[in-house]
Amino acid sequence: MIWVRSLRTRLHHLFARGAFESRMNEEFTLHIELETERLMKEEGLKAAEARRRATISFGGTEKHRESVRDARTLSWLPKISLDLKLGGRLLAKYPAINVVAGLSLAFAIAVCATTFEFVTQVMFPQLPIRDGDRVVAFQMNVLSGGEQAAAEGLTQQTTVEDFAAWRDGLRSVTEIGAYRSTWASLSGGDGTAALVEMAEMSPSGFELAGVAPIHGRYLLEEDGRSGAPPVVVLGHDVWQARFSGDPSIVGRQVQLGEEEATVVGVMPQGFGFPYSHSAWIPLKTGELATQAGEQVVQIFARLSPGISLREAQAELSAFGVPRAASLPGGSAFRPEVRPYAQAELLRERGVGYAINASLILFLLLISANVSLLIFTRLAARENEIVVRGALGATRQRIILQLVAEALVLASVAAAAGLAAASFLIKSGFKTMDRLEQVPFWLHATIAPRTVVYTAAMALLCALGAGVLPALKMTGPRMEKALRQRAAGGLTLRFGRFWTGVIVLQVGLAVVCIPMVVDAMADAVEIRNAVRRFPAEEYLTARVSLATTGSTGELLITADELPAKVDALLSELKLRLASEPAVIGVTTSTAPGMSSERRVFELENAQPPEYVQRVTIAQVDDRFFDVLQAPIVAGRGFHPGRAESDNDVVVVNQSFVQTYLRGRNAVGQRLRYLDDGPGPWQEIVGVATDIEMSLNPDIPGNEGVYHPIRDPVRITSGGATPTLRQLSVLTMHIRGNAEAFAPRLNAIAASIDPAAIVFGVQRLDELQTESLTTRIWWVQVAAVGSALLLLLAIAGIYSIMSFTVTRRTREVGIRVALGADRLRALRPIFSRALFQITLGLGMGVIVLLFLRDLTNYTIRGGGWLAGALLFVISACLAACVVPTRRALAVEPTIAIRTEG
């Protein structure tokens, strides 16, 4: 077949290049020899003359060679490879410019790739389970009559009753299942206990996931029946971390909360269905179905074959919520079915597209800035390019060459950017995982589509950075340039466009750097604040109790929970206080990192001119001693919840200085005004200052302490209430604070086996972790701003340097004619100054505009002035070297300089 033959020939031409060249040479040689012999024979010419005539009749050999090469498949490929090789050599030839340009592009590409990976994972989640795209979740919307529903005792979330009704009634979904999350203390192979997040899940969840365990089995229907022995399936990470990956784990008894359960299986790595769970216990359906709507569960299912999401929604809407059928009209419980992994944040896909589009614009902006550097690099090769054009190279060919050179730079930058993106994603996920659970279908790796995206970004950068300079260098001006070069005149100019690019660079640096300096100063303050206090000597933890057993039965009701946790804490503090390693133990809300602020007023004080706010915290009687903030006036709080501590507060020294101007605070009264005037609270003591909050957005350190009342607050109803852990247990430890953690777990377990100790970490880690995300973004922004400034400096330096070189002859003539050197340089220098000044002005205007628009406040004019001075100095420094070079010009040498 013709196409097979054609394909074979094309592939041969493409890959057997050496053989092809050899063939071509051999054919040409034979042709000329045969023609020579013919001429000698037929026309009686001598050998030399015949050969000459044969060569002439053959035509230009080199020209025909080129024609033959052009006729080959992908003939442009060798040309491009030459251009790419040249581009590689140019990287070494101009290291400074290429490093600045490369770093800037790499940073921009890293930001784009990281965001793209994250946004696409969230926007287009792929559940790594069988037919993941057809798995759906159910949620409840209450459109009206919510109060009535609550009054009737009907919870407004999906419940076990809903699960039972839909499982039996719906046909548009299959493998319907339910789960709820719970935490329990799991004792590992070494006997130590640690908290694990478990899913009480119906066995249909495993059937839906379709992922086989690596050991044993998953949960079955009989495991959830009343009277069945307690069983548990372990996740891979827990199995590895707690049981050292023991292959004989199946069948072993483990302590789960206060009960023993048998391990029946281990799931493979990466499996965390339904969210990010580490272990699974049965969700009892028989008993749960009879309980009157008290147990909230999350419900999931798979769409039946051939059924769309819309059809499933239609059936569900028609089926309704049977348990709410008794409510009179006016209350509308609307169940909704949606794709399982759909994130609320990016439910509107336009958000994700907008994020990516804005970052592409940012990348193009950086590319435009880099194009200035490439243009100055090209300017030094003006001769070469003009002559190439004169020798017949088309404009397209030259542009292609210059874009190929930019592509080499962009490719190196893309490789570095991809590596940086991989690091950013891993560290970002690590941060997210510490702050909140990351769903199991998100992964900290770069997908192939992101690699393709990065390659596309590299191409975009190459086009953005290479095409414009190439267009400027070629075209109608090339002929004019050739004539001017012949006449010994100047050719290339940096016109208004490049002036605009420089101004933009300087302006961006002026906008970004003060903000970043401001944020970095905050980050430094945070770290210094943490370091001022020996927070590493303190261990913090939160304590709670398991509300359900390992078989899913209810252990503690919502009403009982706060009192039981309180009792546990009291006993725990008593036991800890008697430990030799413990210097002191206290409970408080967020030690040193409170963000609760309230508006207040002082009794008998002049009405303030501004709204007075203060940071508040709840502490127990031991807080001031344990946290080394002793009472310096009056008294602290009494042990327990003494009546004498009703409506009393303790303030810190900063409060006294700021609001009482150093007057005696004891006996004064204050009240809060946030929700209307509250009751008066008497100040009974003044404590030494310690950090109230590390949040740099909170000005000042004025603080008010209240006696702690509720260690645990219930924030949502149902039998599995959501707890808001208010109190943090803080222990001052002798020696290594972290080493005390196992002892803490053991003491808690000995008081109550259902005790859950979690969030155990050093106080300094807890404090900095709360601002980890902020610090992380500050670091990224700092790198970006530094690169922006570098780009501006490099751009100014390049233009100055080029202009000095081009005008050396002019400077030499002026000096030879008696002009002062500095005056001779003024025209060159004044242009750079003009660009810098314009950029500064533009940047300051934008900064002030942003401040008004977003209420962003820069800390003090000093910081802004300092940042501006830094930018000015940096830009002026870029002019120093070229200026010194110009000042060193000898007139006699300069006059002889071409151009």
Binding site: I2, W3, R5, S6, T9, R10, H13, R23, M24, E26, E27, F28, L30, H31, E33, L34, E35, R38, S57, F58, G59, G60, T61, K63, H64, S67, V68, D70, A71, R72, T73
Partner: protein
């Protein structure tokens, strides 16, 4: 007859090559000699221009080639027409004849 300019010939070089190869296997020099001989010297192919045309026709699958040995024992690249090349040649001849006829009609008009 003096050799004609090759401007018009360049556009029909491919057709000449296909037609010549339809007469038998030849190497490149042989093709130029055959064209010269058959046209009685009326058509003269620029020798060097032949080879890009041969490469192009081979890439399109209209001709094939392989190394062979000449009568005087020299290594040469021999070309021959493929079945697809034969069909293409016939189509091209038909097109050329239509063009020539149309041109003739215009030229006859006074």
């Amino acid at each position: 007859m003096t050799p004609r300019s090759t401007d018009a010939l360049r556009g029909s070089l491919d057709l000449l090559v296909l037609k010549t190869l339809s007469l038998g296997r030849m190497h490149g020099w042989g093709i130029t000699q055959a064209v010269d001989r058959i046209s009685a010297g009326a058509l003269e192919v620029n020798h060097g221009s032949l080879y890009p045309a041969l490469i192009r026709l081979e890439k399109e699958g209209l001709i094939s080639s392989e190394w062979g040995v000449t009568d005087n024992n020299r290594r040469a690249r021999y070309y021959w027409l493929t079945p697809s090349g034969l069909d293409a040649m016939k189509e091209e001849i038909e097109r050329w004849r239509e063009f020539a006829a149309g041109l003739e009609t215009v030229l006859r008009t006074s």
